[in-house]
Symmetry: none
Subunit: 226 residues, 2 copies
DNA sequence: GCCGCATGTCGCAAGACTGTCGCAGGTAGG
DNA sequence: CCTACCTGCGACAGTCTTGCGACATGCGGC
């Protein structure tokens, strides 16, 4: 079954990234740049989840949340730049089901969307196994195991590894990783990825200088051993 | 068997939080914002439990309780902002089976609902065992045992521990705990959880500085030892 | 072999994250 | 009224994370 996600966000760059990520996950994506537009489209199209930015031109995102809640039970996730907990709490009180603050980790946002969807649509097929050679990822505990022993990795390292292993040996470009993991406009240039790969190798490879698991594909990007 | 819970509450934010928590517990949720609506839906749908707010627009919650009691034996739990014991006593006399005052601890409300359900549907499968290493939770008595000895913990500490142990080793984010335990509006942001964890550790860990049961997962949240 | 570019390597510093603790208002019980 | 406790809050310090830049290295084409 194809699910529809509605994005209400005025910043073109962020909306773009969200759309790309959502489409990659197989969702149909609807977009709106204002609260008014969003309200109409939601009622028209009955999406399965709505992402709402708080800072919108004109009507504030909060009011949009309240309006939506008044007429619909669609799961609402607030995506806001306000780290100010004020807006966030107000958002939840207004009836949102979850919130994510920018800069967000795109993979995490996707996971949260899945969670909201699960509520409205029962049990999907089990989580994908995240295993590659001696490396094993446990999303439940956010732990990475290597041959049975735990390897401490940071939040972002975890998500990058998850993305790579999930790709099952396919090459992923730096851009792809930037968009999927870092998520958005993170103008941060390419080397960030290189760095992270370097650090990951130091943690999961026997000989980080001669990687056997996390391979470089010159000119394209990185991939896990098949 | 899927149980149905009816929520009669006019405040959108609170109703939302209740719905989220109830659905997470696996209940089907019906909502009404007025007594009239509630009465109709209850007779229509025969829910297994009804939550009633006392302050409702129009007909008062108390009258709704009386009306319900006149025609049904469905367990009724009053959820009220009135700490004023007046209304509460009146509510119980009107035929309610239990009451919870706001701000309530979400997990506690869920527990009370289970209790009411147990009455109407006798032998379910036993309660989930809330045990983790030397720690043992007794929901009936709200006691925490550690290696056979009782550890005094506060109300909220108890529910946080219950949530964590119930998660069986999975990581729970601060957000998750805030919503599941504190339940709502608790404008209080982040550090509240950290503090509570700190206090819990002082009570249940041998060496609180090097926790072995209640673990931190940096960047994600907390979890119990598997 | 030489050059240019892609990638590896590493240290740094800002800032994020968490642990720790004292304080104060609130509540319950006496 | 007093006391004890619960609970949220803020401050501070220590640790870890992470983007960045600089330089080294290696690959591929000529």
């Amino acid at each position: 079954m194809i699910r529809t996600v509605m994005v209400v966000e005025d910043d073109d760059a962020i909306r773009m990234v969200l759309r790309t990520n959502l489409e990659d996950e197989g969702y149909r994506v609807l977009e709106a740049t204002t609260a008014e537009q969003g309200l109409v489209i939601v009622q028209d199209e009955q999406p399965d989840v709505v992402l709402v930015d708080l800072r919108l031109p004109g009507i504030h995102g909060l009011d949009l949340v309240r309006s939506l809640r008044a007429t619909s039970q669609v799961p609402i996730i607030i995506v806001t730049a306000q780290t100010d907990s004020h807006d966030v709490v107000a958002g939840l009180e207004a009836g949102a089901d979850d919130y994510v603050t920018k800069p967000f980790v795109a993979k995490e946002l996707m996971a949260r969307i899945r969670t909201q969807l699960r509520r409205s649509a029962p049990p999907e097929e089990g989580e994908e196994e995240l295993v590659c050679g001696p490396i094993e990822l446990h999303p439940d505990t956010a732990e990475v195991m290597r041959g049975g022993e735990q390897v401490p990795v940071s939040r972002i390292e975890f998500f990058v590894l998850a993305e790579l292993i999930g790709a099952k040996g396919r090459v992923l470009s730096r851009d792809h990783l930037l968009r999927k993991v870092w998520g958005y406009g993170n103008a941060g240039d390419g080397r960030v990825v290189d760095n992270l790969i370097y650090r990951l190798r130091n943690k999961i490879e026997d000989d980080p200088a001669n990687p056997e698991l996390l391979l470089t594909v010159r000119g394209f990007g990185y991939r896990m051993k098949a």
